[in-house]
Symmetry: C2
Subunit: 615 residues, 2 copies
Amino acid sequence: MHFISNSLKNYFSVILVLTGMHLFAQSSKKPNVIVIYTDDQGAIDLGSYGANDIYSPNIDQLAQEGTRFTQAYVAAPVCAPSRAALLTGRYPQNAELTGNTSAEPGSSGLPAEQYTLAELFKDNGYKTGHIGKWHLGMNEASSPNGQGFDYSFGHLRGCIDNYSHFFYWEGPNTHDLYENGKEVFYDGQYFPDLASDKAINYVEEHKDEPFFMYYAINMPHYPYQPTQKWRDYYKNMEKPRGDYAAFISTIDERIGFLIDKLDDLGIRENTIIIYQSDNGYSTETRAFGGGGNAGPYRGAKSSLFEGGIRLPTIISWKNHLPENIVNDEFLMNIDWMPTLAKLCKLDKIETEIDGIDMSGMIKHPNTASKRTSAFWKYGKQWVVRKDNWKLIGFPKDTSHKGELNLEEDALFLSDLSQDVSEMTNLASKYPEKVKELTQEFLKWKHGHEEDIPKKIEKVSNLAAGSTIKATSALNPSYNNADLLIDGKLGYTDYASGQWVGQEGKNLEFIINLNTEKAIKSISVNSLINSGNWIFPVNAMEISFSDDGKTFNSSKDIKRVENKAKTENSTERLTINVDKKSRFIKVKVEGIGNCPKGHPGAGFPAWFFIDEIIVE
Amino acid sequence: MHFISNSLKNYFSVILVLTGMHLFAQSSKKPNVIVIYTDDQGAIDLGSYGANDIYSPNIDQLAQEGTRFTQAYVAAPVCAPSRAALLTGRYPQNAELTGNTSAEPGSSGLPAEQYTLAELFKDNGYKTGHIGKWHLGMNEASSPNGQGFDYSFGHLRGCIDNYSHFFYWEGPNTHDLYENGKEVFYDGQYFPDLASDKAINYVEEHKDEPFFMYYAINMPHYPYQPTQKWRDYYKNMEKPRGDYAAFISTIDERIGFLIDKLDDLGIRENTIIIYQSDNGYSTETRAFGGGGNAGPYRGAKSSLFEGGIRLPTIISWKNHLPENIVNDEFLMNIDWMPTLAKLCKLDKIETEIDGIDMSGMIKHPNTASKRTSAFWKYGKQWVVRKDNWKLIGFPKDTSHKGELNLEEDALFLSDLSQDVSEMTNLASKYPEKVKELTQEFLKWKHGHEEDIPKKIEKVSNLAAGSTIKATSALNPSYNNADLLIDGKLGYTDYASGQWVGQEGKNLEFIINLNTEKAIKSISVNSLINSGNWIFPVNAMEISFSDDGKTFNSSKDIKRVENKAKTENSTERLTINVDKKSRFIKVKVEGIGNCPKGHPGAGFPAWFFIDEIIVE
């Protein structure tokens, strides 16, 4: 009796609510907006994006009920600038936040002057809520409440333990959970559930007024802490992929809870939902070197190859926007601000933004994107995208899918319509395109001449074109002796592929000049990078032979010891000779162990040489 | 009625149990042993040890019911070797574990050949259990089960998050909770409660057989995660002390649970309880630089001053050992093995140990300790203790209670009967005692000639005894210009107090020789430590004057640029002159910014000089 009366009551309530909401939705009420922003989720890490080993029915369903983008980007390959770009509609450089923010209490982040999505919606009469990760600054001005959110629940730093809500880095080990700027404790409670509950409460509380909720889900960012249910589900999958996949299903399940709540409240059709990942999957040590998957794309978190920035992106507004659409057009996270402004009929955005209103293309899927170009810049890396051409300066492949030659690939050109994997550098094939895109970059406010890779320095070397043979064991990682007589110096980066390196021991080579030549001097050029335990060569010894076999007698040996000038990044040690010879034996000595006072003192020191110059 | 009948039942049960146990205790049954080993608890961080800001009624009660030691030591100032010493009865050097173990899966720790307390008890028919932290190795041989424990529950690495049971360091972020070598998940459950429950279960399950339980409580080691109850209790106390104190009360409460259980089971009088901390409180960044308190003692975790190694230590065996005793005699954690063997009447320990049976002194509190000497060695630090004399080689004061002069305090002698705070170095006052203790150290198997601090190198300097004045701004941290003409070179440690340092900028001095002197050369000696951004001086300029005012004309200036040989830890730059002068102006130039290829490239480099040598 009790049960029945309650059920009947609920039945009538539901009808009333649905009817009411429907009428309301058709009226002047502005739509709600939920932006779900996940953390370090790889490019194909959803069932709907091609992962056949990941179970994500709720997000896949969301994609079915809207548009799934295959060519949507974020403006930075790491958390904080990606979020700054999302919230301001600007490139990180214009949002004045280009790297990850500090964890120090009180430290600054996104400048207060920056106009955010939250401020835009607030100015248009919306309630604004932030739930989840912030990572845009630790002082009040850059806090969620300082940046336009009426309500905020979550952690302020880059990652948390999901049970203790502590932030761990080098230290101190700090509790990091806040509600509207006030520290709150929920010891032992699973943060994804706490956030999910807060999100559900938020939409329930604001069901009758337009709201903007930024739901910054802190998964699948390390630490990989899925629920037991999903750990069990993936128990036969190898780690770290298994834990990562379980973490994605943990996200998916909670997004299901939220969408169910929107349905229950009858506000689903009056709510625009955007789903996007903030950057590619992490290959950091803290993430066991991986777990995520960028599918066909090269690169991961921190890289400007597609895998770092081209990510799962969905928009769904039931009954208002097309459903079951796969859109292959070019779009960026900075475009959401003007796009949402248009869809929600907000007042004009007064600030200068880099985003483009994409509402037309979303409403009419066969329309071409208004975006045909974009810029990225992160650390030393930069990108100019124009139509399908993409030029990367100083590319970095955190996914280690292929080798990069620092010299040849310092400018990396791809035609994405032909090679979405960016495995073949077309720079040398299309020099005019490189020039054109470089000029575009230099025209951009944040593109500078010093960002452009310089040519490798060439040296005149009598030995160029002849042969060189190592007569001592080479280090397997840096063993290309041919580099030593290629007439080119290396970039000052031992890992650039332009250096021959040795740890602790010495190296010895025989150069065969093919014919007897008059030799004035012999030099060896070495790298200085003591931070990486790399010291200049300590000494060089040379001797000569006409037959390549008899390098006789000690009196014939010329030796020079190094008087290094440590302010240079490379240095050249020269022996003057005045001799005709065909064969030259060169012995190069390192300093042996790292010197006293150096962190590596007593352990083997490295030396790296890029050229043995015969003049 | 219900209440009364239950009470009566309990009343009778208690009587029966007590009577039964008492008879049993008097019988042939061997006593149980519980060794409680806390983590990073400071020397006075208990009410009974003098902390008037910490509430620890249960541990204080335990002290009341037994002996509280005021001069009990651990054999190492950090976790792993302290634990290795406890479990083997040996100095860490003899236990073959002298530093903290690796967190790498499969990495080695305490060697399998080492004979542990667990093996000793097991060989004597005991059940053996480990609960809490291990930190003695990650491979099977060095695991709890591999080292003699029938049962083990806890974490294998140095610290954990108490809710997720993850180990956080540089990475990877790893779940670290095991039961008998099998990974177990208790997501979100508070580890101190899990461990407390396991400990209580363990004693309940083994109440009828003799057991040895090593209860390695992982608190108050960072992360500071007390319960809400205790956070509230200390809410007005400043952090990190407040969190630390709350964490101690969290320990105390759980020790209360265990003792209550022993009482309930009626086995309290048949159970020997030892309580000790593994090393002094931490001053690491991860611990907010502190939280604990060593009271009168100098030093903290990682230091061989008393504060790092002299710690709260209690033994209680009700009705068998004296109660309410404060024992000021000398005792070490390595002494527990032979002491427990004696108290429990175990078979003879077959291995060679460093511990001494202290049972006599514990039974008869007015007896002098059989221990009159001991050795410690940790990193570069070492200690010889003989009677009340304590000599430290290369002391390190992690508590920063006072200055240490690297030269004068390289050997630090204290008479603990007069100066338990070790604030006054008596080495120069009692050179014979220093010599005697140094000889003792060298007689010890692990004391070597190279461990003995060498005298500072002296140089002949015409300027010694004259005056020097800086004419450019000095760096406030390294500004003692007088050092530059003291005729002594520095240890190769920029922070030793023997160096004048400058960052980015140059330095200029005027030396007044008091009378005109014939000068043959002027040298400056500088430090090389590029890992700390310290580079040799780049150039030196000198000029002369007879009045200290007019140092005229550029032709008068002599300049030399440096040709550094980076394999040395210091180097000398010399200008040969042949001149008589009273005043010398010396300008010393650093390299400016760190060189390319160095991690600090583009940022100001340091230089440090210890002497301007006038010959």
